[in-house]
């Protein structure tokens, strides 16, 4: 157990150091997210002004989902191309530890993007006093992120081993993530409309926690098969 923890930490550290050297993934994710916001703005306001606060909950998560897809696709491509994955698989490391470390690294990158992007988003689109509801928003984001990276890391592992690689991931990932999107978008919309404390979000939060738990268990049970020999 102690050993597993040390291996886990080392692998997370490896991913973060590798990213810090180039910063290409985080920078492109961030740019993508901001660009998507601008695209949304003009797509929705083509016919004059609309009340954007009705749309912002969903918009925010569409932006994050596609941004996360960008990162998830990258997360294994490096490993595969540079032969790092083969090295990892040869190490006496539990496959599940590999999964957990990869998942954690993806979570760190996604959270970093969100930390930078949410203020921009609020600046662009929100008129509500979100600061008062910040704790609720943060809890929502954390619980939803966990689901996104759990499912995303599992599916990215599968798609990296196929011929079409990054083409396949969105096709597998998006239909599976729709339930999470439904829940988190409706929760976030409540926050942006200033009607949500933690209590009124309880239903959504419970749903998201169950979703996270289900896919964590699934990933735990099947990752050996996903990553291959």
């Amino acid at each position: 157990m102690r050993l597993g923890l040390r291996q886990y930490r080392a692998m997370v550290r490896k991913d973060i150091i590798a990213e810090l050297r180039t910063k290409e993934m985080v920078v492109s994710m961030f740019l993508f997210v901001v660009l998507a916001m601008i695209v949304f703005h003009y797509a929705f306001t083509a016919r004059g002004s609309v009340r954007m606060s009705l749309l912002t909950g969903g918009m925010l998560w569409v932006v994050f989902l596609f941004g996360a897809l960008l990162g998830l696709n990258r997360s294994f491509v490096h490993e595969k191309d540079e032969g790092c994955l083969d090295g990892l698989l040869l190490c006496p490391v539990d496959r599940v530890t590999i999964f957990l470390s990869k998942m954690t690294a993806n979570l760190v990158f996604l959270a970093l993007i969100q930390l930078l992007a949410v203020p921009v988003f609020l600046l662009f689109f929100s008129t509500a006093d979100v600061v008062a509801h910040l704790p609720a928003l943060i809890v929502l984001v954390i619980v939803a992120d966990l689901g996104i990276v759990t499912l995303g890391t599992l599916l990215a592992t599968i798609s990296m081993n196929t011929r079409s690689r990054d083409l396949l991931l969105p096709i597998l990932f998006l239909p599976l993530i729709i339930p999470l999107l439904i829940a988190v978008a409706s929760g976030t919309a409540k926050v942006f409309n200033g009607e949500a404390g933690l209590a009124s979000l309880l239903g959504v939060l419970v749903f998201l926690v169950v979703y996270d738990a289900v896919f964590l268990v699934l990933a735990y049970g099947t990752y050996d098969f996903a990553i291959g020999e």
Binding site: I158, L168, P175, L176, I178, P179, F207, F225, A226
Partner: protein
């Protein structure tokens, strides 16, 4: 089809026996479906609510929906069995089940839209069950994209099994999520406690259900046979190529 099976499979396989069973299953399915529909139209009372006559499609629509879910369930079980035993038979069963589940899901949406037009006045409503089937269709369509992009057989089978498991777990979650949102048009027919149906409705419905399930069983048998033939063909092609 039948002659092709026995010709390629040769005498070593119990081809004739199997075709016999399949034919019997289809005959029973046809008879049950026909009787169920006849009873639905001429014996079961016309629905008292606003839906009236259009409710008759329920005897077709709901059994198809159950069959589609059953088919995905079979793929789920086949997936687990494949991962445990690594036997190609379960892979064939899984593909066949997903393909038929996809077919039946398409039919669910088609009959659902027809009913929707008659009962609600619109072909499409973002209604929990209909939406769940749409998402399931897209999800399981991805299953075939996945299969198409993996060449090595055992890996393809492993990933297919894995994805069939994940997808089947996701379907009820999706349904539940769509229910998180307000508004729903679907009638809740069978509530816990009361069946909500006249006994005549119930008998006609159950006959249709049994017929549709047998239809699935028969089609599965054929699909599995086709899948085996396809593999054999691929094997022969590869041998010729070298």
């Amino acid at each position: 089809m039948e002659s092709a099976t026995s010709a390629v499979a040769g005498a070593s396989r119990p081809g004739i026996m199997r075709i016999g069973v399949t034919t019997a299953v289809f005959a029973a399915a046809g008879a049950l479906l026909a009787i169920g529909l006849l009873l639905a139209f001429w014996w079961a009372p016309t629905d008292a609510s606003a839906m009236g006559f259009s409710q008759k499609i329920f005897y077709y629509h709901a059994p198809i929906a159950e069959t589609a879910l059953l088919s995905f369930g079979i793929a789920f079980v086949a997936g687990i069995l494949y991962l445990r035993r690594q036997d190609a038979r379960y892979d064939r069963l899984g593909v066949a089940a997903v393909r038929l589940g996809l077919l039946f899901s398409g039919l669910v949406m088609a009959t659902g839209m027809i009913w929707g037009k008659a009962a609600w006045g619109v072909f499409w409503a973002w209604e929990p069950r209909l939406t769940t089937f749409l998402i399931a269709c897209l999800l399981y369509a991805g299953y075939f994209v996945l299969r198409g992009t993996v060449e090595e057989e055992s890996r393809r089978a492993t990933y297919s099994a894995l994805f069939a498991i994940i997808a089947f777990v996701d379907v009820p979650i999706t349904f539940f999520a769509t229910r998180l949102l307000p508004e729903g048009l679907h009638p809740v027919v069978i509530r816990p406690g009361s069946s909500g149906m006249d006994h005549r409705d119930f008998i006609a419905f159950m006959l249709s259900m049994a017929g549709m399930t047998l239809l699935l069983v028969g089609m599965l048998r054929i699909e599995i046979g086709i899948e085996a033939l396809r593999e054999e063909l691929q094997y022969l092609k590869n041998r010729l190529g070298r």
